[in-house]
Amino acid sequence: MSSEMAPLLQVEGLRKWFDITRGVFGRKVGQVKAVDDVSFTVRSREVLGLAGESGSGKTTIGRSVLRLVEPSAGRVVFDGTDVTSLNTADLRRFRRRMQIIFQDPLAALNPQMTIEEVLSEPLIVQGIGRSDADRRNRAVELLDSVSLSSDYLKRRPGEMSGGQRQRIVIARALAVNPEFIVADEPVSALDVSIQAQIIALLIELKGRLGLSMLFISHDLAAMEYISDRIAVLYLGRVMEIGPSSEVCGNFKHPYTEMLISAVPQPEPGYQRKIFPAGEIPSAASPPSGCVFRTRCSYARPECAQIVPQLRKVAEDHYTACIRDDLSLSRVLL
C-alpha cells in the first residue's frame, strides 16, 4: 500500500487451508479455508488491528506470520527477509525479532517457575546475558517496564492476579528486545478495569520501544483505541483495511457496518440502526463470489460471481465490495 518507506512486515497472498480428514487413515474429505489470499503490511512503529468474528482467521494469520503454522501459499516478508523460506536454524534466530502474546496468561506461564525463571528463559535460549546476575538485572528492568516491582522475581504465576500475569507475559515477550509483536486477544480474559491498564501499557511500550504490533481482538473499541490501522476479516479474507478512525467511524464495507453496529454502546438511550443478520458460514464451504454476500443486505446477483478485490476509497483506505454506490449508515453518534 502507498507508503514511501518499505514496510516492516509485508504479507502477500497468504493462504492457509487446513485439511479435513476422516477415519483412522486420515482420508482427506475437504478443506477449511481459514485464510484465503490475504495481503497487508505493517509499518515500522505501527499497530495494525485484526478484527472479525470468531473463525474469521485472525489467529491463523498471526501464527502464520511467525510461522507457528506453515502457510499453504503466499509470502511473509519481515524487514526484507522472506520468513516463509527460512530454514529452522535461521527461523529460530529470527524469532528474537518477532514475539507473540496469547489470550490466557495462566496457560502461557509454567506454574512451577518463579517469575525470575520465566523472564530468564528466553534470555538463555537466545544467548543474552553472560551471568545469572546479568539476567537478573534484565529481569528487574523488564518488570519495571511493565510497572511491577522487583518483589515479584521470587513469586510464581499462581500467586498473582490475572492482570499481573498478563504483565509478566508481556515482559517475557519483551525480554529479547523484539521489534514486532503479535498480540492475540491480550486483554480478552481480563477484568474490565484491568483491560484498560494493559491497553495503556501496550500503548506506552509501543511509543517508548518503537514496537510494531499485530493486535488481534474481539473488542473493536479497544482495537480502535490502540491501532493505527485496522483490517476487518471475514471467512479468511480482508473486507476492509484503513486508518482505525476511518474503519470505525467512516467505514465503506457492509460487513464493517454490521460488525460496528453490533457493538453495545455504553450510552443510555443509544438506538441501534442496523441489525446483524445470520451467522458466519462454515469455512469449509464458503459462499462463491463475495464471501459475505449471504448476510449482506446490499448484495446483488453479481456478488455471487465476482470475488471483490480491495479497491481504494481514500488515502490508505481500501474496501473489498463491488458496490461503490453505497452510503453506509454512520451508526455511531
Partner: protein, 336 residues
C-alpha cells in the same frame, strides 16, 4: 412500592467453606425487582454476581445463605425462597423463575436431540401431550429467531453454533412462562453480532410476556442497551444502584465512575480523543478483603481514617439512586 415488587432480596449473604477459611462471597445484598423490569447486575470477575443469581435460585448447596429472598408467586402469594422446601423450590424453578447461563453446552444433554429435550421439559412442567409439546417447542424456537425450527428439533447440541445453543436454552427457559428470568452472562462467549441478535430477542420477548429479567454482565455497554436499572457490585457488596441513565451520567461511587472512564468508546477516537483512565491496582482476594470501603486501596478519593475504618452504608443519594461511599457528598460537591 414494595407492595408490587416481584422479587425482594433482603440482607442476603453467601459464604463458601474453604481450606483457608470462609469465603464471604456476597455480603448483605439487598435489592428489589418489579414485575416486567430489566435490572442489570454488573461487576467484575469475582464480585459475586453469579453467586447472587444462584442464591436466588437456591442452586448452591455448598454455600451458606442467610437473609430473605421473597418472591411474589403467580398466584399472588409470597414465598421466602431461602426457607422453602426442596420440592417447593423445584416447582418455583420450573415455573416461576428460570435461569440461563454463559455456556449452554453444559445445560443440554449431548445424547438426546434438541426436540426430545424440549418436548420432555414441556410435558413435565406444563403437563402437555406430546403433540402439544412439539407444537409449543416449535413456536418457542421461532420466537427466539431460530431459522429452521423443525430441523433444529432433530439435531444434537454439538451440531449447533454457540448462538443457536443459547437460543435453544432461552426457548426452553421461557417455555414455562416464568415471571423472572435470571440471565447470567448469556452472551459473553458469543460474537458481538450474535450477542446483538440475542439481546434483541430477549428484549422483544420481555415486552410480549411482561416477565422481569435480572441480567448479569460485566459489559457496561450491554447494561446501557438492555436494562432499566442497574446494580453495581464490587468485592461481594452492592456499591451503587440506580436507573441506567443516572448511573451513566451521574455516577456517585468512584468505582463506577472509574469503570466508565476506563472504557474505550467506539468511533470516538477522532471526535473525542479522550484517553482512557485505567483504575490502578487489582481486585482484592475474597480471603483478604480490605477494611472499611472495599475499594479504598484503589480509590483516588481515599482519605485515611474515613474510608478504611467502617464499611460505608448504602445510602440514597438521589431518588432511586443508592451509593456506598464514605465521601460521596464531598465528591459530588467538588465535581460540580
Amino acid at each position: 412500592m414494595a407492595r408490587n415488587s416481584l422479587l425482594e432480596v433482603e440482607n442476603v449473604s453467601v459464604s463458601f467453606k474453604s481450606a483457608q477459611g470462609p469465603i464471604r462471597a456476597v455480603r448483605d445484598v439487598s435489592f428489589r425487582i418489579n414485575p416486567g423490569e430489566i435490572v442489570a447486575l454488573v461487576g467484575e470477575s469475582g464480585s459475586g454476581k453469579s453467586t447472587t443469581g444462584l442464591a436466588t435460585m437456591q442452586l448452591i448447596p455448598s454455600a451458606t445463605v442467610s437473609g430473605r429472598i421473597c418472591l411474589t408467586r403467580k398466584d399472588g402469594t409470597k414465598a421466602d425462597l431461602v426457607s422453602l422446601s426442596e420440592s417447593d423450590i423445584r416447582r418455583v424453578r420450573g415455573n416461576e423463575v428460570a435461569m440461563i447461563f454463559q455456556e449452554p453446552m453444559s445445560s443440554l444433554d449431548p445424547v438426546f436431540t434438541i426436540g426430545t429435550q424440549m418436548c420432555e421439559a414441556a410435558r413435565v412442567h406444563q403437563r402437555l401431550s406430546y403433540r402439544q409439546a412439539y407444537a409449543a417447542s416449535i413456536k418457542a424456537l421461532e420466537a427466539v429467531g431460530m431459522p429452521d425450527p423443525e430441523k433444529c428439533m432433530e439435531t444434537y447440541q454439538h451440531k449447533l453454533s454457540g448462538g443457536m445453543r443459547q437460543r435453544v436454552m432461552i426457548a426452553m427457559a421461557l417455555s414455562s412462562k416464568p415471571s423472572l428470568l435470571i440471565a447470567d452472562e448469556p452472551t459473553t462467549a458469543l460474537d458481538v453480532t450474535i450477542q446483538a441478535q440475542i439481546v434483541e430477542y430477549l428484549k422483544r420477548i420481555q415486552k410480549q410476556t411482561g416477565m422481569a429479567i435480572l441480567f448479569i454482565t460485566h459489559n457496561l455497554g450491554l447494561v446501557a442497551e438492555i436494562a432499566d436499572r442497574a446494580i453495581v457490585m464490587y468485592a461481594g457488596e452492592i456499591v451503587e444502584s440506580g436507573s441506567v441513565s443516572e448511573l451513566f451520567t451521574r455516577p456517585r461511587m468512584p468505582y463506577t465512575s472509574g469503570l466508565l472512564k476506563s472504557l474505550p468508546r467506539l468511533g470516538r477516537k477522532k471526535t473525542l480523543g479522550t484517553p482512557i483512565e485505567p483504575i490502578p491496582g487489582s481486585l482484592p482476594s475474597p480471603l483478604a478483603l480490605p477494611s472499611g470501603c472495599k475499594f479504598h486501596p484503589r480509590c483516588g478519593h481515599f482519605v485515611a481514617g474515613v474510608c478504611d475504618t467502617a464499611v460505608p452504608e448504602l445510602e440514597s443519594s438521589d431518588q432511586a439512586h443508592q451509593v456506598r461511599c464514605a465521601r460521596w457528598r464531598d465528591i459530588a460537591r467538588t465535581a460540580q
